[in-house]
Amino acid sequence: MEQSPSQAERNVQNQQQLQAGRMAGLGYWIVDIDENSVFWSKEIYIIHGLDPNTYTPSLDKSINFYHPSDRNYAQACVASAIESGQNFEFDLRIVRPDSTIVHVRAKGECEVRNGKTIKIFGIFQQIYKIQSTKSMTKVLDFQRLLMDANTDLVFVKDANFKIVEANEAFLSLYPPEKRHQVIGYTTLEEYNEEQVEIFLKEDKKAFAEGLSEVIEVIDFPNGSQCVLLTKKIRFYNDEGEAFILGCSRDITSIKQAENALIQANGELEEFAYRTSHDLRSPLVSSLGVLNVIEKNIANNNHEKLNDYVQIVKRSLAGLERLVSDILELTKTKNSDEQLTLVDIPKVVSQTLDKFSEMDNVSRLEIRLNFNGDGIINTKTSRIVLIIENLISNAIKYQDLSKEQSYIAITLNEYNKYIEFKVADNGLGVPLKYQEALFSMFKRFHPRVSFGSGLGLYMVKKSVEIIGAQIRFDGTKNTEFIVTLPKK
């Protein structure tokens, strides 16, 4: 049989427990089953966020402090302690009156007399430090997961611009053999000087002002080039050292789309402006000349009527060409044509046949030089447009003052591509206009009146549609070089 301690002994015990409790941040409690009373030490009031002077604890109220999800467990522990003298220990959450949640550890030991629990003694402790280490680890793991799942580049740099943290997306921009030398390094030697200057300027700005934001074009060590929207934010660790957290979003495709839109929009405006002029101009002048013709007929003045009629005819013929080119251009822009095998030498000979009636064709020497079959899987209509335009330009813009004029059409077939060249010794393109050669509505020879000014623009668009390239070489004579990839 147990001896119950005297009141004096109890007081000493209490005193010692209080002291120990305060030292350990530990509270203790007693539940007296018979008296149906609960005693809390001062620490427990504090942990609950309650005032010892105004609050009186009870068993039910104590249990109700537990988080709704934890309450049943606490209730069960206490119940089994009362009914069967079972000691308990648990880590659960309580909800303070101000709704904050506190992690606590409680331990209870039963005093059993005659097989019946009469008192439960317990300790009670806030365990945020222990618990927080656990949850911090969890949080950090989760953060790591977030970082690595993020397709944006995330990195942390210290005050010496060394990378101290980086996510998978960031690391993948380095070749595999260099990835272990990213964290702990500045890696600046991997970038060109100009970019390093921008990095450091923005890093310094973020360290100085707390924030920097910039759109940068970067060549990465793995060879890729990206347009990045980069934001850098300064932060401090517990020791007060400054760091910057960088977040870069790859906006390359957005930028590309934006540029394509700007270009398309510009072209549309140019188109509206130029058509307003180029459609109206021949109409206005034709109407004017027709008025003159009408007046002259009325006055019985037939002297120059035929000349005037010819002027109107030429003007209207030019207008007709412009309108068909505009229609052709619409096709060029919305081409979903299937790929077929195209025989380039055959297209060339058909084109030469088609243009055999043009003015001054007969004085031209046509030099054909085909090295290879020149058969390619591509969009026929585009190839035809390219070849027809280049050849008809060479015919139209021949230099009549030269004794010998020629057009040289060359095809060189290589493993991966076909090179197609049209050269002539015609009027050429003045150096200062060469830059605008492939622009809309550009004509360079005022006295040569054919052409809508859309020809080379359509050629350029067609070349782009079939994934080819075109360049102009005006150094010696006039030469257009089309490079067609074999797919």
């Binding site: 402006y273 130029r274 307003s276 002029h277 180029d278 109206r280 101009s281 021949p282 206005v284 002048s285 034709s286 004017g288 000349v289 003159v292 005037y308 002027i311 109107v312 030429r314 003007s315 003045p430 206009y433 550009k442 004509r443 360079f444 020879h445 005022p446 006295r447 009146s449 000014g453």
Partner: protein, 130 residues
């Protein structure tokens, strides 16, 4: 004052003809020069002993266009001409740009009438003395 020479800068034969006829109707004694673009006009002015009194300048031309001509022309010593822009496009931006050049006195939408010629001559060259 009477004007002696006119230069038409236009690539369109129909427009050249219409301006020529209007000028001839206004005063058949005027000498008319024609250039197909800005560069031809500059070369022509260079080759003349005296600058033309009046230039009718188109804007949209292959080769050197009207705007480019104005830039180049104002760089030369030939400042004796009065320039009338003659264009088929009623574009505010074209007009605003043209009128920034001190020698450009008038901006006319085609077609040019005989009255237009009379107006510009009496305004820029004093009393019409035909």
């Amino acid at each position: 004052m009477k004007i002696d020479t006119v230069l038409i800068v236009d690539d369109n034969e129909g427009d050249q003809l219409l301006v020529r006829l209007a000028v001839e109707e206004y005063d058949p004694s005027i000498t008319i020069y024609v250039a197909y673009d800005g560069q031809e006009a500059l070369d022509l002015i260079d080759s003349l002993d005296e600058d033309p009194n009046l230039i009718f300048l188109d804007i949209n031309m292959p080769g050197m266009n009207g705007h480019e001509f104005l830039v180049e022309y104002h760089k030369t010593q030939h400042t004796g001409c009065v320039i009338t822009m003659l264009t088929s496009s009623d574009q505010e931006s074209d007009k605003a740009l043209s009128m920034t050049y001190p020698l450009v006195k008038k901006y006319t939408i085609k077609p040019l009438s005989v009255k237009d010629i009379g107006d510009i001559v009496s305004k820029e060259f004093g009393k019409d003395e035909r």
